[in-house]
């Protein structure tokens, strides 16, 4: 993977980009205040570890594990949750 591409994907990744079983750190919730509030109450807090789990047929909604609970989110919502991926491949 190219360095710039890697940076790019790190900067712009959202929950939708996670592959099954992949873990990422939630960075920012790009949602209206009340909606973000509710998601944070459920554990979707900046800094939290989120793991992508299975998704429904067709890929929508997607199921995510956060803490020890699992939640189904529609892609339109998951797309608004920005994540930081831990470095997957060692840099060349």
């Amino acid at each position: 993977m190219q360095l710039s591409g890697n940076n790019n994907s790190r900067r712009h990744a959202t929950l939708v980009d996670l592959r099954r079983g992949e873990v990422a750190i939630l960075d920012r919730l790009d949602l209206p205040g009340a909606d973000a509030h509710r998601l944070m109450e459920l554990g979707f807090l900046p800094g939290a570890q989120v793991m992508a789990r299975c998704s429904a047929p067709g890929g929508d909604p997607m199921v995510f594990r956060v803490d020890s609970a699992e939640f189904a989110l529609r892609r339109e919502t998951a797309r608004r949750l920005k994540v930081l991926r831990p470095d997957r491949a060692p840099l060349p």
């Binding site: 009340a34 509030h37 067709g58 699992e70």
Partner: protein
């Protein structure tokens, strides 16, 4: 249970030293059960009060407050208020608002609780502990109950109760509401061992990240070790949410339910029919020929009896619904069908109310309280009665059994009758989805709130829970048969026997009931219905299955079809087109007073129920007309 509230001073958490705990002199009168959704509040409520409020394995089953009485060992009674689940005390949906109103003493009919039992799922402790902050801030005597102790142990989690108790400044107990474990400590608390919480430093309640930090810190200091993720849930989800296997299993489950409802219920229904036949004959022979005998045999026995015959079938349906709900599969079904919901413009939260509408539209409409957006909620209320409720099941079964041959369609797997039934359920569902789509793209357009559904861990449905559901359902069914349907049947019998000529009842066609049916005959003739069906349509406005009682009574009194069974009488009176028209009519129309009443209450006026009644009625008439016209 730990009793070390006072050691809070010695701990690292800052507690004002002056705080002297005040003892509650007597036991409180009312105690509220509060906690996050699906943490087991209602299971605990049922344990404490001996009542049987509905429980199931998905979030948001309880949408209203319920009060029951817990009897203490010394005989005193304490009111326990079961509340809908909340994630915080900043309510966003109707059910959460109810919970908060009760806690703050703002609810119109429920007294303000003097103490709180906070029920948390111990397998999700840090997140659930966030709710402790606003609850402790209320300043009421509080006990924290860590529910699902059995799950914590079996999956290798741990928590130090004494440390947690001192961190929170209130007593803490580990319980398992499902197994009845740890309830002694709850009774001890209720019996008066309660104090105001030790004042603790709580986070700013509106600041979610701070609250969470606080909860994490409390959990860490209580040496909380989260249990391993439920392994079986992961494995089952890999199958049930598999891109190919998932929808396939979903479809197979649905087909199996319908096939079983037809085949497995038949012998039981024959048994009930035989009972009514034998007991009816016995009454007929042991009473002298009189008006009373006629009322009993021709009216009540053939009317009410013909409805009760369907009890086994309705119970079988509820058994299946119960298994799906209690196991946790329902939440997965909601995820699988979310795309369909999304296309109709509905949010995923509408799925669970709509699914419970397969049992009955009334609880389904109450369940829409979990939908935060008002327009989404109204759209869901408006389409819920299109879902095939259990009161339609007897009508469908009767007409299908009379007109559709009992032949296999796909081997032994799916018979033609079950397929016809499945088709009717689909017709109702499609009407619902199409209506939603029209409404959501016009008068009820909304931005929508994000769809969020917590996926509960799978659990084995317990025999007692399923048994209680069936018992409750039998009561509801029999109560309806014994009240509404009995009343309608008696009224019908009287109307079929007036006006009296020369001391004799008129032929039924010329009676008051007959002329009422004849008066609407011009309207229903295009649908292929005669006046007898017409009378049934009028009475079924009270409740759908009343039409069966009505037809049973009419055919019981009508000398022409006297000896025939309800089925053969129907075959005589209806063409195939008329039968299909009747099925379509019942699939679409809103013949249920209870539903109309609950829609009026939940939407706060007559506008929506009136619209719904007219819309569904017009669709029913049009659909039936087309069916009669083209099938002939």
């Amino acid at each position: 249970m730990s009793d070390c509230r006072d050691c809070g001073h010695g701990c690292a958490l800052e507690a004002p030293p002056a705080a002297k705990s005040r003892y509650q002199a007597t036991a409180p009168e009312f105690v509220a059960l509060i906690g996050p959704p699906n943490s087991g509040k209602t299971t605990l409520f049922n344990r404490l009060t001996g009542l049987r409020q509905k429980v199931a394995n998905f979030p948001g089953v309880t949408v209203e407050q319920h009060t029951g009485w817990a009897v203490l060992p010394d005989g005193r009674e304490i009111g326990i208020i079961d509340l809908p689940g909340v994630y915080s005390l900043s309510p966003r949906s109707e059910d959460e608002r109810v919970a908060c109103d009760v806690l703050y003493g703002r609810h119109a009919t429920t007294p303000r609780p003097e103490a709180v039992l906070l029920v948390l799922d111990v397998t999700n402790l840090p997140r659930h502990l966030m709710l402790a902050a606003p609850i402790l801030a209320l300043g009421l005597p509080t006990m924290v109950l860590l529910n699902m102790a059995d799950d914590l142990r079996s999956r290798g989690g741990e928590v130090d109760l004494a440390a947690l108790s001192s961190q929170l400044g209130v007593p803490v107990a580990l319980v398992s509401a499902r197994q009845g474990e740890g309830l002694d400590s709850v009774f001890t608390f209720l019996a008066g061992a309660m104090r105001k919480p030790q004042p603790m430093e709580l986070p700013v309640l509106q600041d979610v990240p701070r609250c969470r930090e606080w909860a994490n810190r409390v959990g860490n200091r209580a040496a909380y070790r989260a249990p391993a993720p439920p392994e079986w849930t992961r494995r089952l989800d890999a199958v049930f949410l598999h891109p190919v296997a998932g929808p396939l299993i979903f479809g197979l489950v649905v087909i199996a339910v319908f096939q079983t409802i037809f085949t497995a219920a038949a012998p039981l229904m024959d048994g009930v029919r035989w009972l009514f036949h034998v007991s009816g004959n016995w009454v007929a022979t042991s009473l002298p020929d009189s008006a009373i005998r006629s009322l009993l045999v021709e009216g009540i026995w053939s009317g009410v009896g013909s409805v009760i015959v369907f009890l086994p079938q309705v119970l079988l349906l509820f058994l299946f619904i119960g298994i799906l709900e209690d196991s946790g599969y329902l939440a997965r079904a909601a995820v699988i069908s979310d795309r369909t919901m999304a296309r109709a413009g509905l949010q995923g939260k509408s799925f669970i109310p709509l699914l419970s509408a397969y049992a009955c539209a009334v609880p389904a409409i109450l369940a829409t309280r979990t939908i935060e957006n008002r327009r989404d909620r109204i759209a869901t209320i408006l389409i819920a009665p299109f879902m095939t409720c259990s009161a339609r099941l007897p009508v469908y079964t009767l007409v299908i059994a009379a007109f559709i041959p009992d032949r296999p369609l796909v081997g032994v797997f799916l018979g033609m009758r079950a397929a016809a039934m499945l088709g009717l359920y689909m017709v109702g569902f499609l009407a619902a989805v199409t209506t939603a789509r029209i409404l959501k793209s016009s008068v009820l357009r909304s931005d929508g709130t994000p769809f969020l559904l917590e996926m509960p861990a799978y659990r084995w449905p317990t025999v007692s829970s399923l048994g209680l559901r069936l018992l409750d359902r039998s009561k509801v069914f029999l109560r309806r048969a014994g009240t509404v349907i009995l009343l309608v049947t008696v009224l019908l019998w009287v109307m079929a026997h007036v006006p009296v000529h020369d001391g004799h009842a008129p032929p039924i066609a010329d009676s008051l009931a007959g002329s009422l049916g004849r008066s609407i005959e011009p309207i229903i003739r295009p649908l292929g219905f005669d006046w007898k069906i017409g009378i049934g349509l009028i009475t079924s406005l009270a409740a759908r299955e009343t039409i069966i009682g009505t037809l049973g009574a009419i055919y019981g009194m009508d000398p022409e079809s006297h000896a025939a069974t309800l089925q053969t009488a129907l075959q005589h009176d209806l063409s195939l087109g008329g039968a299909v028209a009747l099925l379509i009519f019942f699939a679409f129309s809103m013949q249920c007073i209870s539903t109309i009443a609950v829609v009026r209450r939940e939407t706060g006026g007559w506008k929506w129920p009136a619209f719904q009644f007219v819309y569904m009625g017009s669709l029913a008439y049009l659909g039936a007309f087309l069916a009669a016209r083209f099938i002939g």
